[in-house]
């Protein structure tokens, strides 16, 4: 079977880019990734995006981005899987190469958030939920996370600051990421005194949404340019799993079954056990999602994942380095672009190009993007090829 490798990565800082349009953000990220790949020529482009057609009144992104990035009239279209849209685009790209249909594929994750008021944007983002039966009663994404967190604290009899370790770790990591939205540290005291967003979920338990664009160029290993300057990173496994759309339709809403299935399946394809991963770019859109993810994957017993964060086990030099460039919480949450940012960060780690947050000798990286509260979960496994 052909080796699918990540030849190029590109990203713009996550932020409120009032002066940049959806299209200019996407083109910037694509150009960076193409340049990083040694100017490979993609024969397909897949785009991860959620809000373009509502917030920006712009659909048909395949035609838009191939035109503005001068990629020619290649195959191009959008994949939508809510917050996992970018990861879905990566999976389509992987399958296109594995199938033999394409040789070199560009993946773009792009989201424009800051063009409307926060309340308007939030109402549009509620598309992630069951609109008729969750959003209409008045719930939003933070509210879903609040419901899960309340139940979690109740079942395991935990104090309301139990999850503080996740945002504290994320903020510490973002200090060293020039592309992060929030480059400032967070203390336990600040966390404990933060205003509530959706009780018991406070302001620091929810990642800030922002604009972003990140891109990847995938190709077959044998098509890499001569004198390719980077260590070679392969994509070894890819899996999508889903759960009931509504939290109320799940037998155990704290189980995050889609996460378990997606991670186990991607790891199986890659021929590894999830515990052997050196870097885990998980989805901490909300602190409780990070906790439930670690428990679903078997990294922690039920009701105990918060201790891993509290005890520093998720730090870059520790047992399971996670959110290494700040995670959603502090890098920022660019929604449909999130999954591509995670992949870019995983490749930075495996290339040894992650700067002060470099995980020593990182060889295997796992990424996990969620659409809603693990209504959709998409996992990817990457490794660095050992060269002599």
């Amino acid at each position: 079977m052909t080796d699918v490798v990540v030849a190029g990565i590109g990203q713009i800082p996550v932020g409120d880019h009032y002066s940049l349009s959806l299209r200019s953000m996407g083109v910037q990220a694509l150009n960076k990734a193409l340049h990083d790949s040694g100017d490979l020529k993609p024969d397909a482009l897949y785009i991860g995006n959620l809000l373009g057609s509502t917030l920006s009144h712009q659909a048909n992104l395949g035609a838009l981005f191939t035109d503005y990035a001068r990629l020619g009239h290649i195959e191009a279209y959008t994949t939508e899987a809510a917050g996992a849209s970018g990861a879905a685009a990566l999976r389509v790209a992987y399958l296109a190469i594995l199938s033999g249909y394409a040789d070199t594929v560009a993946v773009l994750g792009v989201e424009k958030w800051s063009d409307v008021t926060r309340e308007e944007a939030d109402a549009l983002l509620s598309q992630e939920l069951d609109y008729d039966y969750e959003a209409i009663p008045g719930l939003n994404s933070a509210g879903e996370a609040g419901l899960l967190m309340q139940r979690y604290l109740y079942e395991y009899n935990l104090p309301k600051d139990a999850l503080a370790g996740f945002p504290i770790q994320a903020h510490a990591n973002a200090l060293n990421n020039p592309n992060a939205l929030l480059r400032k540290s967070l203390t336990a005291e600040t966390y404990a005194s933060a205003p509530m967003l959706s009780d018991p979920l406070n302001l620091y338990d929810g990642a800030a949404y922002a604009d972003g664009a990140a891109a990847l160029i995938l190709t077959r290993r044998e098509l890499l340019p001569k004198n390719f300057p980077h260590p070679i990173v392969r994509l070894l496994g890819s899996s999508v799993s889903v759960d009931a759309l509504s939290l109320h339709d799940r037998r155990d809403p704290l189980a995050f079954n889609a996460v378990k299935t997606a991670v186990e399946s991607a790891a199986l394809q890659a021929g590894i056990m999830p515990v052997y991963t050196d870097v885990f770019e998980l989805d901490d859109s909300f602190s409780i999602y990070a906790a439930l993810t670690l428990e679903a994957c078997g990294f922690a017993e039920k009701g105990t994942a918060w201790q891993m964060a509290r005890d520093g086990l998720l730090a870059p030099g520790a047992k399971l380095p996670a959110m290494t460039m700040g995670g959603c919480k502090a890098r920022g949450n660019p929604i449909g672009a999130k999954g591509v940012y995670q992949a870019v960060e995983a490749v930075q780690q495996l290339r040894g190009a992650a700067g002060p947050n470099q995980v020593k000798n990182a060889r295997i990286a796992l990424t996990l993007a969620l659409g809603g509260p693990a209504s959709t979960a998409i996992a990817h496994v990457f490794d660095r090829v050992e060269t002599r």
Binding site: T117, E119, E120, D122, A123, L125, S126, D130, D132, Y133, E134, A135, I136, P137, G138, L139, N140, A142, G143, G146, L147, L148, M149, Q150, R151, Y154, P195, M196, L197, S198, D199, P200, L201, S246, L247, H248, D249, P253
Partner: protein, 133 residues
Amino acid sequence: MENPRHWRLNKQRYALVGEVCPHCEAKIFPPRDVCPECGGEAKNRFGFSGKGKVFSYTIMRDAPAGYEHNTPYTVAIVALDEGPMVTAQLTDLGSEKVEIGMPVEMVTRKIREDVEKKGMIIYGYKFRPVMQG
């Protein structure tokens, strides 16, 4: 304006009308015509009692457009006595502290303001604490 979209859900919103599976007796809300328990066809209507218990709850302080006039408000997942769970606002709380396991019952209330200023106010189910005694 999305009149048909809201009109066709009236039976669910005003009266918690779901379905009962003729094969395995499972009660289903909202109606989906295929039983999520046994996979059989399930089109027989079933009116829920509207009684249940709080499975979890959250207080919404930062609401999406259309709900901001009502903040803070409490949204709960309610486990209905007949089995299924629903997401709904809690109302008529007064000074009562919400707790997981608290018995609640359905009432009809205004759900959303007229977001587009076109005369479209949405009514539907909320749940209130069961009167004690």
